[in-house]
Symmetry: D2
Subunit: 348 residues, 4 copies
């Protein structure tokens, strides 16, 4: 932590700040120029609230030197984390394709979709049973348990299943059927939920909030990790900007930033961010080229009649085409869609 | 709803869209030019999902004509709503001042603060017992029940009490002690919580989400209203933008927009948006001048030692000064801090 | 400047950075902890490009301690600047009202408007003769010289005149007729223009760019000041955000930030930011309450038939009402619309 | 154009709007429901200012049906434009690599760089001689004519040259030496410059403004095209958002949107957007995978000592690696770095 004193800070004020920092166990170095004094406080104090110092008299600014997260940081753990989901290795050489409907509608749909997803080579089924919508007047997804049905259909296709959780109350029930628990963008800072997930033994897929900085996103991951669960997959799915040609702005630079700052694997969802079917394949290719460890897409057997986000879902033919295209891009960046395909590591 | 067909849409496609709209009960008017056909679908269908039409072949775009909300809209109800909180009238002639600590720390704090807040003429106490933070390493507020204590202290000062709720599980318990249930920015689209609040008999204070448009905010209000609870107060507290000199960007235009589009009262919180104590009073004055019905501020008996957001809290002297200053501005715009002070209505 | 070294920086790297800083004349203090070294470089080097240090081996980050601007900073000059425009004092006790059409259309318009503006008590006429538009198909303002006409009409009403300049070539011609040279948001970082204005003897009204941070805005002011012209008035007119209910988001917190960081006067333009006539008066009131030194509004004798931004212009009755309302708010915050009205200073 | 009347609009108001639209030559269709009337105005009137209608009494909103640009629109011209720069075909099968220093420093630098750029297979040299900076205290690039030098060095390496123009006065001089005239982000809406470029016979490289929507960017292209110059290459280089981990947020979705809406070629600049050397290669790969027609990168023989944006420049080894990597990704999406390499067209 670096403490920048005000230009006109008095000796007493400076000494009070130094005493305060020392009391918290920091090693303090003082640099005084003609106009201004800067204090360097060296030491790692995970529980320390730097605002205590910012509020002291004579203090102009406090700048953090270390990142606000530790367990999620690559500074703490250099090797990339590979999340093992019952044999499906996420974050390694292979790129994971996760697919499913925006919301589950019927038994037939689940069967058709898991079969299709599996035969095209995806390994992870997205089986959302809830679909919270922004308007009361729009479609609100079926809530009751199709979980067993999803589990069965997925098992038949040898798919792993990710289920979105939105509250602590349903966590146990969902954990019985899910291989991965997904946290939607709106819950990225739902700390009660994060705490509960921190004690779960299921891997977590943590979406970035629409207005969350990458740092805040990693701080949410840190939060879960501090509670004991370190199996976390991040997912970029667009941030809110002034551009309205797409629903949100997909931030593919975030893939590079996450790879530099953290050891956790990162997915990209090009459907929710763009909101437009014909932008999905190019952006899925771009995600893989940027270094993403996985791609999450909406697939629907009949997008034109989908009750919900049909506009941003691929039909089966388009999904098959997506797989072909991202396979080629994966190869171009030294990866593959299946483990063990290539021997050289991913390109940096 | 206006349906804009693609330039090269075929007659069959156009007719299929018309048939579809008619089947849903819309009255359809067709306008065909040399290059393009536009369909006007007249009729109010609250439950209608316009994406069904957008997904049809030959459709280029669908534009909503009416607002996405109805109960919250001034188009439906012209008179401004006054929320009556046990005699405290919010949204009328008087401007409401709501004040309290960022988070409740101790019994002494509660007593000192309610006394101070009351004697300065505020009418609403903000008694947050939870303080979810963005980082695990920062202060996490005391969770156990100081609710009874807050209730007693508030009653002594004849203050009403607003308490933030973050999940459905604690709703009943909190409702026993609170006069107003507050929904924080992060929960603005927590639809499970909104639904539960829709069946509550307590007024709701609904903060705008950090990346929520005004329309989405009003749609969240609509959601609660559709569930039966129409006693809603909105609260603007800053949106996320590229500007970093303040924590968030306080959107005071939102006060004008809400007043034009909706009949609901609207508060402004200048503390959370700016994050800086010395910007609070000017922006509180501006909020009142812009037409806000209330101002919500953080007050602390010892901001320098506050465990939490002390930087953005007023001390007691500053709070007293705030009251004096906004009283003068309120008068300048035809309002007052107490009901019955002036007889002329608020300026538009 | 604080230089944060990487965790694994070697002794040679650290020493090379120290040598580099010393060579530039900085006084360097080294703080080494168990994991990390931080260097404090004390000294004010106006011409120093900190990126030279950031590019050195072993450097993790460089944080500026002092502001990126000096002449514009309140740290350098504590007293607020009053810009004297031939007797009209901007930034003092009185709040300046600047008004005029979005673009000048005809001789009659100019006469009607200057008369109206003057009789209502405004002191500054906005006489734009150019109107660059975002689309080729939209109205493009008359370019030829109505400047003489504007000058005459303004003199008749004893108004000062502000004219927008967009390029260096027309600067001399415009300077003959204008009292203030206005730099539009799109030219805030047109450094050739800023340099030319730096050698002008006319005061500059510098609008904030749509995507400019407050720091960048003050850096543009600094740029002009470094070239010799210190008579600068800032003008907040909205920033681009995700909110689309208003054209731009008026950032009234910027008034407080500018007042804290700089000694320059600041205006607010509520017309361009909102794009809607009925939001102008409440936001003009809010600007004055927030501490702005002036308000700039579009006025038109017939807004419904204005060729250009008629939607965001007040008609004459509304303008008269605006004056009445902001006069009351000005009084409430210890100011007035005319110099010498009140003796107590503006409220902080 | 669709005109939505207010709920309580009178018959006279509706008829006045219809008469107005008819007088402008529109074909008007009226759709009246129980509460509301909607008017469809069919007809293409390029010079029409829709705000004239929005300002009429009883009008609630006006929605454009057709795009605000025509010459730049794919609706008007389906085949993709290939810009031919003296034999270098931009927008065809081959992906163009444009490289050069952030600003030209010396004769040696120019020679070393053009040689290096050419031998690695890039075809376009970026020879900026001006470097406008945001702060007076930072490096301001040499202004006098190194243009001849650049021209000679580029010719030796058989490279085409792009030069940034910032004002009309220098246009003729620069045109003598440049193959492509580049318009920087800050000048995207400098309409005087755009008009002058509209009469130039050189192709234009038009960067997207930092806060410009894709629609506004295409409107600027339209502006140039309306003036007669249809040889335009677009360049995405990041937009301003709340995220601060990168300098700007690279909007790769914009590539897909531009490809869908327009027939013009589009480049991506991953250096300026990220501001960080180690993010450039992954994002250049992603740009190519997303469908970009070219990539623009900063290269420097000694980035650590670059006077200016050295942090975001590749050194020669990194540039060679970039070429290898994007060649592989280009192949994966059915393209190449040289014309005639592959016979199958680019993937959609």
């Amino acid at each position: 932590m670096v403490v920048i004193m005000k230009r006109n800070a008095s000796q007493e004020e400076i000494e009070a700040v130094i005493a305060n920092l020392s009391a918290f166990g920091f090693n303090v170095h003082r640099s005084s120029g003609v106009n201004q004094t800067v204090l360097g406080a060296i030491g790692v104090k995970p529980g320390f609230d730097h605002r205590i110092i910012r509020g002291l008299k004579g203090v102009s600014d406090v700048k953090r030197v270390t990142e606000a997260y530790k367990l999620a940081s690559r500074a703490g753990r250099n090797a990339s984390t590979i999340v093992d989901v019952g044999g499906l290795r996420i974050g390694g050489h292979a790129i994971t394709v996760m697919a499913g409907p925006g919301s589950v509608e019927s038994e037939e749909q689940i069967r058709a979709m898991t079969a299709q997803v599996a035969c095209n080579g995806a390994s992870l089924f997205r089986g959302n049973i809830l679909k919270p919508r922004t308007s009361f007047y729009e479609f609100y997804g079926v809530e009751e348990g199709r979980l067993e049905l999803i589990r069965e259909a997925a098992d038949r296709g040898e798919l792993k299943v990710a289920i979105e959780v939105t509250d602590v109350a349903r966590l146990d029930m969902m954990s019985e059927y899910a291989d991965i628990l997904q946290v939607g963008a709106r819950n990225m800072q739902n700390f009660e939920l994060l705490r509960a997930l921190g004690t779960s033994n299921k891997p977590i897929l943590l979406e970035r909030g629409l207005s969350a900085t990458i740092e805040e996103w990693l701080m949410s991951a840190e939060y879960v990790m501090r509670c004991g669960n370190t199996q976390i997959i991040l997912c970029e799915r667009g941030i809110r900007t002034f551009e309205s040609a797409t629903r949100y702005t997909l931030d593919l630079s975030a893939v590079s930033v996450v790879k530099a700052k953290s050891h956790l694997p990162v997915f990209v969802d090009p459907c929710r961010s763009t909101g437009m079917r014909n932008y999905i394949i190019p952006l899925a290719r771009a995600a893989v080229a940027a270094g993403a460890d996985g791609v999450m897409v909406d697939v629907h057997h009949d997008p034109a009649n989908a009750s919900g986000a049909g506009l941003s879902a691929l039909n089966f033919d388009q999904f098959a085409e997506l797989i072909v295209q991202i396979r080629d891009v994966a190869k171009a960046v030294g990866r593959s869609l299946t483990e063990g395909g290539e021997t050289n590591g991913p390109r940096q």
